[in-house]
């Protein structure tokens, strides 16, 4: 069949660049000198990073940062998931939606809010305590490993929540009911049945969150870099965009290779643990809701206090501080004097022309990237699940790589390629095309996973009936598969469009001119340039632009499908 080879060809064509980018990173790590000069290979970069004490410090920083993030995210996610799935707390749907949407809130947004709150010099909480008790030193420091871990953990708590909820949902509720009817109370049931059974799922979620935090860029970039606290991600970034010296791609390549290996190792252990946790999952086919635990008014009060605290620190407080900062010329704690200086000048003073350009680019990205990704991933999913091709599992494995490999590194490899390898053939450097290309590649894992899940639920006989009826493969895809997969496609499209909108990590490397500037990059540019208050104002404008897209998500994309993100 000709159509078959077209589909397989599309998947292969999309997956080859993934491998190429990875090999490029590996290659980069052995370059002695800068590009443009004759290539001399060396092992020095590896020798240096393994002997340099700064690498070890960065490693400890990164692990400390990621561990804090895991602990913070679990601290909020596990009780919230339990409350939503197992108790009679009123307003559960609302909580579910709010927490899920939290996954879309840009991390650089909350990170800025926290700087205004807890920065040792300007943070209002610190200023308050210093003035009140006449302290020599600020009591809190957000520009520290634990501070950054706290902010990252708040951001990742949404994803952890979605994963833990999934664990609860796949668990046979009669396992808990059996404990209750045989005399174990709520707390004993929780301790001897619920927690041990959900433990593997929680561990899997921890590894997942840890992997993301390990290569997280936004928080360390917003909070850490200006205070000379580096994690692996910002260290790599600093090596290719240093302030004073020349970029050293060799070191960036070597560190990236180590980080990729670490991430692959973590992903492998994630799947091991996940498989273990699936052993406990029972599909009963019985569609009754488990008995909900009655908290009573006292319990509700306690639960709502906890959730209220969560929402305030994770969402509301950073938001309020950004508004406050956006209204002031210089950041200062709230006071009568400060109140008299409140104005909209920061908004008037924004680089509106650039912002319009950025908004246009961002819109193009939001429309093209999800569409391209879904076309490619439909081909990949079909190849993996339906083609019967030998080596189809290799497609699945490669499609998973963009999840495990830090996106920052994908972007660096692409940037390197456009700058030094392809520059004679195509001028992609600083173009919107390269952004579309890398964004699309980075989302392949997410979309294949969703499409694989949905395609696996469609009986192959539905397609076979169409083949027997004389339809060609591409017609079958258009007439049978796409309509049947529509809910998954719509959901994945909207979710990816929203992720595109808030993307900063890859843009930070690839956006090099006004041609391909995006909205988050403008905010970041203002922030790095030291105009914190203008950055806050720009951030609010960016968030306001995002609202229509979130509304779309509400209307078309919201279902229990969110659990598939994990």
């Amino acid at each position: 069949m000709k159509g078959r080879w077209v589909v397989v060809g599309i998947s292969a064509a999309a997956l080859v660049p993934v491998l190429a980018l990875l090999l490029l990173v590996l290659w980069m790590g052995f370059w002695q000198n800068g590009p443009g000069e004759p290539i001399v290979y060396t092992l020095n970069h590896y020798r240096n990073i393994f002997t340099d004490s700064f690498t070890y410090k960065t490693f400890l920083n990164t692990v400390g940062f990621a561990t804090t993030a895991v602990l913070v995210s679990l601290f909020f996610a596990v009780p919230t998931a339990w409350l939503v799935e197992r108790t009679d707390l009123p307003g559960k749907n609302f909580i579910f939606v709010l927490v899920t949407l939290g996954a879309l809130l840009p991390t650089f947004f909350t990170a800025m809010g926290w700087v205004f709150l807890l920065h040792p010099r300007i943070g209002i909480v610190n200023r308050f305590f210093v003035d009140l008790f006449g302290l020599q030193q600020a009591p809190f420091n957000i520009a520290s490993i634990s501070g950054m871990g706290w902010v990252e953990g708040l951001g990742l708590s949404s994803i952890a929540f979605i994963m833990v909820v999934a664990t609860y949902r796949t668990m046979d509720p009669s396992l808990e009911e059996a404990a209750r009817v045989h005399g174990l109370g709520i707390f004993r049931t929780l301790r001897y049945v619920t927690l041990p059974l959900t433990f593997p799922g929680v561990i899997a979620a921890s590894i997942y969150v840890f992997t993301i935090a390990l290569s997280a860029f936004e928080v360390p970039a917003i909070i850490g870099m200006s205070n000379k606290i580096f994690t692996f991600a910002t260290f790599i970034f600093y090596k290719i965009q240093p302030l004073e010296e020349l970029p050293s791609y060799g070191v960036a390549g070597a560190v990236s290779t180590v980080l990729i290996l670490l991430a692959l190792l973590l992903s492998w252990s994630y799947f091991r643990v996940l498989r273990f946790s699936h052993r406990y999952a029972v599909v009963t086919g019985k569609a009754y809701q488990p008995r909900l635990i009655e908290l009573g008014p006292k319990g509700w009060l306690l639960a709502w206090s906890f959730l209220g605290f969560y929402f305030i620190v994770a969402k509301l407080l950073p938001f309020l501080l950004l508004i406050w900062a956006a209204l002031l010329r210089y950041f200062q704690p709230p006071s009568w004097v400060a109140l008299s200086q409140v104005s909209l000048n920061n908004f008037y003073g924004l680089p509106w022309k650039l912002m319009l350009q950025g908004a246009g680019n961002t819109l193009i990205l939001m429309l093209t990237v999800p569409t391209l990704t879904l076309l490619i991933c439909l081909a990949i999913s079909w190849t993996v699940l339906r083609s019967g091709l030998r080596g189809r599992l290799l497609f699945d494995a490669v499609a998973f790589l963009p999840h495990a490999v830090p996106h920052l590194i994908l972007a660096i490899a692409a940037m390197f390629a456009t700058l030094f390898l392809l520059h004679n053939a195509f001028s992609l450097y600083g173009s919107l095309t390269i952004l579309i290309f890398v964004y699309t590649i980075s989302r392949i894992s997410f979309a294949t996973r969703i499409l694989n899940n949905s395609l696996a639920q469609i009986h192959p006989e539905l397609e076979e009936a169409a083949f027997v009826g004389g339809l060609k493969l591409l017609q079958v895809m258009r007439k049978i598969l796409v309509p049947l997969l529509k809910p998954a496609l719509v959901y994945a499209w909207i979710w990816m469009a929203l992720l595109c909108y808030r993307e900063l990590t890859m843009a930070s490397v690839l956006v090099t001119s006004q041609n391909n500037v995006t909205l988050p990059m403008i905010v970041w540019g203002l922030w790095l340039g030291g105009s914190l208050n203008q950055a806050a104002a720009a951030n609010l404008v960016v968030l306001a632009f995002m609202l229509p897209a979130v509304l779309l998500y509400f209307i078309f994309g919201r279902r229990s499908r969110v659990t598939e993100v994990a």
Binding site: L175, A178, H182, R291
Partner: protein, 359 residues
């Protein structure tokens, strides 16, 4: 033992509410094996779960062993762990992270009885003996077969010496041969221990084998309560009659208290249940007698055998009377019934219901 009155429960799915239980009244005596029988969606599982405390009803009252465990008007709703019951779930609900002994031990040491670890060991052994699973103590539960899990679930439910044992379709996940074996064992255990059992099933044979009494449920209501014989011979309505095996229906009209004009002519009936006007008359296939010679009995009609199927222990025949076709079960020695037969419908075996209940 169990006393239920006016129990109602509605489920809300989206905008509309579905009544799962409509004002259920039920009394189950001590030591009785009581089966709730009905098709899926009849409310039988909801009723069982309400007794267990796993579902909270909207109206009514439940008391177990003379103690009120749920009452809307008195605002009582005891938690499941406060009701002295044992329960076997449809999925067995064997905890996969524990061994067989730990599965039973957990409810003994941390459940209502708060037994010491030491005395629990003895009790675990005894309850495993009851279900013939000696020496399975240290087996990880998730490595057990379905039949073994089922037995562990039963052992766990019995280990706490419950006054009441609840069973929710415990045999539905077993294969046919095993099902018969376990069924017999459950019946034996229940009699031996003198325990009260409330048992949910959709299988009428299972219900008839096990039950002292059966409540037939549909659409959240109890249609009839009785022992298997009563339910089979004198069903309260057409639905119950249909649920217990196949039955032939004839449309008709009451002529007087004992005579009905039907599609097959005027029939004499013993049990007319004070019906009048349009009725349906039912007769089970094994009660349709096919005879060659015609005696001077009542309810004897000329019929024509259209087809007959030999099944070894019986013959299933389709008999046409006028425009109506009846199914008859005849003894196997009558292998080739003559084309024209005399059909006898014994009046004691005819059941009559008012028309609207027609299936």
């Amino acid at each position: 033992m169990i006393s239920i009155s006016g129990l109602s429960k509605r489920f809300h799915t989206g905008d509309h509410a579905v009544a799962a239980l409509r004002a259920i009244d039920l009394e189950v005596g001590r030591g009785e094996f009581f089966v709730l029988l009905g098709p899926s969606g009849s409310g039988k599982t909801t009723l069982l779960r309400s007794v267990a405390g796993l579902e909270k009803p909207d109206e009514g009252e439940i008391s177990l062993n003379g103690k009120i465990v749920y009452s809307r008007s008195r605002r009582i709703s005891a938690a499941p762990e406060e009701r002295e019951i044992g329960m076997v779930f449809q999925s067995y609900a064997i905890w996969p992270h524990l061994t067989v002994a730990e599965n039973i031990g957990l409810v003994l040491t941390h459940g209502r009885s708060k037994m010491s670890k030491k005395s629990a060991v003895e009790q675990i052994r005894r309850s495993l003996e009851l279900v013939q699973l000696e020496n399975f103590e240290d087996r990880p539960a998730r490595l057990l077969s379905g039949g073994q899990q089922q037995r562990v679930a039963l052992a766990r439910a019995l280990a706490v010496n419950p006054a009441l044992l609840l069973m929710d379709e415990p045999l539905s996940n077993l294969d046919a041969r095993l099902r018969e074996e376990v069924r017999a064992n459950i019946k034996k255990l229940a009699t031996q221990l003198g325990i009260t059992v409330l048992y949910v099933t959709h299988d009428q044979v299972e219900a008839m084998v096990l039950a002292d009494r059966i409540a037939v449920m549909a659409h959240g209501e109890i249609l009839q309560i009785g022992n298997p014989f009563e339910l089979y011979r004198s069903p309260a309505n057409a639905l119950v009659a249909e649920f217990f095996g196949s039955i032939n229906w004839l449309r008709g009209k009451m002529l007087d208290a004992n005579h009905v004009e039907t599609e097959c002519g005027v029939l004499c009936v013993a049990d007319s249940r004070r019906c009048d006007g349009a009725v349906i008359v039912g007769i089970r296939p094994e009660d349709v007698r096919l005879e060659r010679s015609s005696n001077e009995d009542e309810n004897r009609i000329e019929g024509k055998v259209m087809s007959s199927t030999f099944l070894g222990d019986q013959v299933i025949a389709e008999v046409k009377i006028g425009e109506k076709t009846l199914i008859a079960k005849a003894p196997p020695d009558d292998r080739e019934p003559s084309k024209t037969v005399s059909v006898h419908l014994p009046k004691g075996r005819l059941v009559v219901f008012t028309e609207p209940a027609a299936p």
